[in-house]
Symmetry: C2
Subunit: 388 residues, 2 copies
C-alpha cells in the first residue's frame, strides 16, 4: 500500500471533500468471490484493471503476485509493466500509431496481447511483428451480442484474418465481451448471455482450429456474465472489471448487494433548501461523474444512494441532481429528509464504479473489517493510473 | 504558454489518441465577444475558470494580467493565487472545514470571497474572521430561479445574515446564478432569465441596504444570461464560464455557432461494423465524459458531432454511443457513412465543455487563425488544475 498523503488526515473526517473512498475489506471479498467462481468453472481469471486503475488494488487480485490482467489503455499497460506484470491483454482494437509503444513493451519482456477484428489490422500487426522481429500476440475480437466491436463467429473473414496472424506467428486466440449483459435484469437472462458469450468464442475458435490454425486463448467475460456462467467448457480465461468495487448498476441487476459496494465518495453538506426538500452538498458531477446507469433500470438511483460516514445507508435519501461542484439530496419512498447540519459528512454510492473512480486521482482506503466507526480510519492512499 | 510535452508531437497527427484540443483563436474570439458585451453593459467581468481550469487559458481573459476570476474549488483558488491572481470568488457554499485553506489564502494577500446562504454559515464565517483577525469577504447567495442554492430575494432571514456578516466586517455582497437559463431555448426567454437574475440580485442588495448594510458587490451570471442581458442596472459584475470554449449545448440554445466551439477531442478509427452502420473509435466516455446535455434539447447530438482533423464538420456523422474507451459513430439525416480507414483521426465536439475538459490533464493547443491544415500544428500544451 502507498503511504498516506498527509499524516493529519487519519480518518474520513480529515481530508477536504469531496474524495473517493475504497473499503478494502469489501474489495477483498468481491475479488475472492469471483476467484472462487473461476476456480469452480475451471478457467483462469484475467481481471480488467480499468475500474480501479490502481497497482495497490491490483495487488489483491492474485495474492500480491503480478498475475494476468486486462487493460483499457497503453498507459495502464506501461504502469503495470513497470510494476512487474508480464502478461497483459490490451482489450481495445489496435491502430497503427499505437504499435511503437506495444513493441517497446514486448521488448521489455511483457507479453502484451493486442485485439483486432479486421484483415486491415491483422496485416499491419503481422507486418510490424516481422519488421520488429518480435512475437506480437494478437487476439481476434468476436461479437457475441451486437454490443460493440468484433466479428460474428460465422463471419466469412475470420479464417483469413487468422491465417494472416498465424503466418506471422501472431495468432494468440479469440476474445469476446458480452456488453449487453449489463441490460439483462434476471439471473436466467444473464446465464443465457454467459452461454451465448461462451458459445460465440468457442465456435470462432473451433472454426479457426478446423482450418488448421492453433488458438491457445479463448477469452470471455463481463462482470454480469462472469457471475452467472454455469459452464465454461472450451473457454480458457474469464475477464471482468467492475466486480472489484461493484456499483449501483450491478446491485440493481442483482449481481451483488448494496453491502458489497466498495467505492464511495465522501461529501459535505453545504446548504439546505427546505422549501424544495433539498440538502445541498459539495459533491457534484465532478466527484461522481455524469454516469446515470441506473436511469435505465426499474429502480433509478439518481446520482447515488447516501450513507453516513460509517457507511450505513440513510433510508430514502438519494442524490437526485448534480452540477459541477454541487449535489442535491432528496428524500423518497415517504422518508423524511434527515436533519443534517452544514459540515455533516456523508458518503455517496455511485451508479458506475469505473466512471466515478475516473473522476479522482486516488482512493483513501478504509477497512470495513475493523467494524463500523463513526469516523473510519484511513489505512492507506492508493493513487490511480491516468491518461492514455 | 507552457512548453510542449514532446518535441516529436508537432501536429495533431502526433500525440497518441484520445487527447483534448483547444483552438486558441476561437477561445480568444469567445473571450473578446463577452468582454465587449460586459463593457457595453457597464459591468466588470469576473470569468469562471472552472471550465478550462488552465492558467494559460486564463491569461487570455484579462490581456495577460491576473484580473478577477471565479473558481469552483479551493485547488483552483490556490493555483490561481500561486500565479498572482489576487481577486478570487469561490462560488460554492462554504463549510467549516474548508476555512483554514481560505484563511491561508487571505493571509497571502488574496481577496478570496466566499459564498453562503444561511445564518449557520454566516456565524462560523464571522467567528473565523474574528479569530483569525483577517478580513474574510463573504457574499450571500441569492436564488433567482429555483435552480440550486441561495435565499429568495424576499427571504425573511436575509437581513439577519447580512447583519451577522456586517458586524464581523465580512459582508461583501450578493451573488446569483441563473442555472435554469441552460434550459431556455429562445433568446427572448434567456433575456427574460437575465432580467430575473438581475432583479433578484438587485432586490436582495436593496433590502440589505435599506437595513443600513452596505453591499459593495452585486454579482450575476451564467453563460446563457450573460449573452442575453440587455440592461444590468444595479449589477456590479458579470460571471460566466463555459463561454471560453462553448459547446454543443450552447450551440443548441443558439448562444453560439458550431464555428465557435474551441474544445474538441482527437480520436482514431479502430474498427468498422458495416452490418450495424458503425465506425468504432478509441474515444469513449473516458475521453468525452458521460455528459449528454443535448439529450434534453430538440436536436440530440449524441456524445458529439464529428469533424476531420482540420476541424471541418463531417455532415451527418454523430458519436451515438460510448463505452469506457470505445466510441461509436453513426450517420443520420440520410448521410452516407464515410469511408474512414483504421488509423483515421477525427475530432469530436463535446456536449458540455466543462465535463469533457475535466476528463483530460491538459490541452494541445492549435491556432485556427493560421488557416485550415489537414494536420494542424500544435502550438502549446496547457496543463489543467485538478483535484479539490
Amino acid at each position: 500500500m502507498s503511504t498516506l498523503p498527509s499524516p493529519a488526515a487519519r480518518t474520513l473526517a480529515g481530508p477536504d471533500t469531496p474524495f473517493a473512498v475504497v473499503d478494502v475489506d469489501r474489495t477483498r471479498r468481491n475479488i475472492a468471490r469471483l476467484r472462487a467462481r473461476a476456480d469452480r468453472l475451471g478457467v483462469a481469471l484475467r481481471p480488467h484493471v480499468k475500474t480501479a486503475k490502481s497497482l495497490d488494488a491490483a495487488a489483491l487480485l492474485h495474492d500480491g503476485a503480478p498475475g494476468p490482467v486486462t487493460v483499457s489503455t497503453l498507459a495502464e499497460a506501461e504502469a503495470f509493466a513497470g510494476a512487474g506484470y508480464r502478461d497483459i491483454t490490451y482489450a481495445v482494437g489496435i491502430e497503427p500509431r499505437k504499435l511503437p509503444r506495444v513493441i517497446a513493451l514486448l521488448r521489455r519482456g511483457v507479453t502484451l496481447r493486442v485485439l483486432l477484428d479486421s484483415t486491415e489490422q491483422a496485416t499491419f500487426v503481422a507486418a510490424a511483428a516481422r519488421e520488429a522481429g518480435v512475437a506480437l500476440p494478437a487476439q481476434i475480437e468476436i461479437d457475441c451480442d451486437g454490443h460493440r466491436g468484433g466479428l460474428k463467429p460465422d463471419a466469412p473473414g475470420l479464417i483469413g484474418i487468422g491465417r494472416v496472424l498465424h503466418d506471422a506467428g501472431c495468432l494468440d486466440g479469440v476474445l469476446t465481451h458480452a456488453g449487453e449483459s449489463y441490460f439483462r435484469p434476471t439471473a436466467a437472462e444473464r446465464r443465457a448471455a454467459a452461454r451465448d458469450e461462451r458459445d460465440a468464442a468457442v465456435a470462432a475458435a473451433g472454426r479457426l482450429r478446423a482450418a488448421g490454425l492453433p488458438v491457445p486463448v479463448v477469452s470471455v467475460g463481463s462482470t454480469p456474465t462472469a457471475h452467472a456462467a454455469d459452464d465454461l467448457t472450451g473457454v480458457t480465461e474469464l475477464r471482468a472489471g467492475t466486480y472489484v468495487f461493484f456499483d449501483l448498476v450491478m446491485a440493481g441487476l442483482g449481481v451483488c448487494g448494496l453491502a458489497d459496494l466498495a467505492l464511495s465518495v465522501v461529501v459535505t453538506v453545504i446548504g439546505h433548501r427546505p422549501e424544495y426538500g433539498w440538502i445541498v452538498t459539495d459533491g457534484g458531477w465532478m466527484a461522481m461523474s455524469r454516469d446515470r446507469g441506473t436511469a435505465a433500470q426499474p429502480r433509478d438511483q439518481g446520482y447515488g444512494l447516501v450513507t453516513d460516514l460509517s457507511g450505513t445507508l440513510i433510508p430514502g435519501l438519494v442524490m437526485t441532481a448534480a452540477s459541477q461542484e454541487h449535489g442535491t439530496l432528496t428524500a423518497r419512498d415517504g422518508a423524511v429528509l434527515p436533519e443534517l447540519p452544514i459540515g455533516t459528512r456523508l458518503r455517496v454510492l455511485p451508479n458506475h464504479a469505473c466512471a466515478t473512480a475516473a473522476q479522482h486521482h486516488g482512493y483513501h482506503v478504509v477497512d470495513g473489517a475493523r467494524g463500523t466507526a463513526a469516523e473510519p480510519v484511513i489505512e492507506a492512499y492508493w493513487p490511480r493510473v491516468y491518461g492514455w
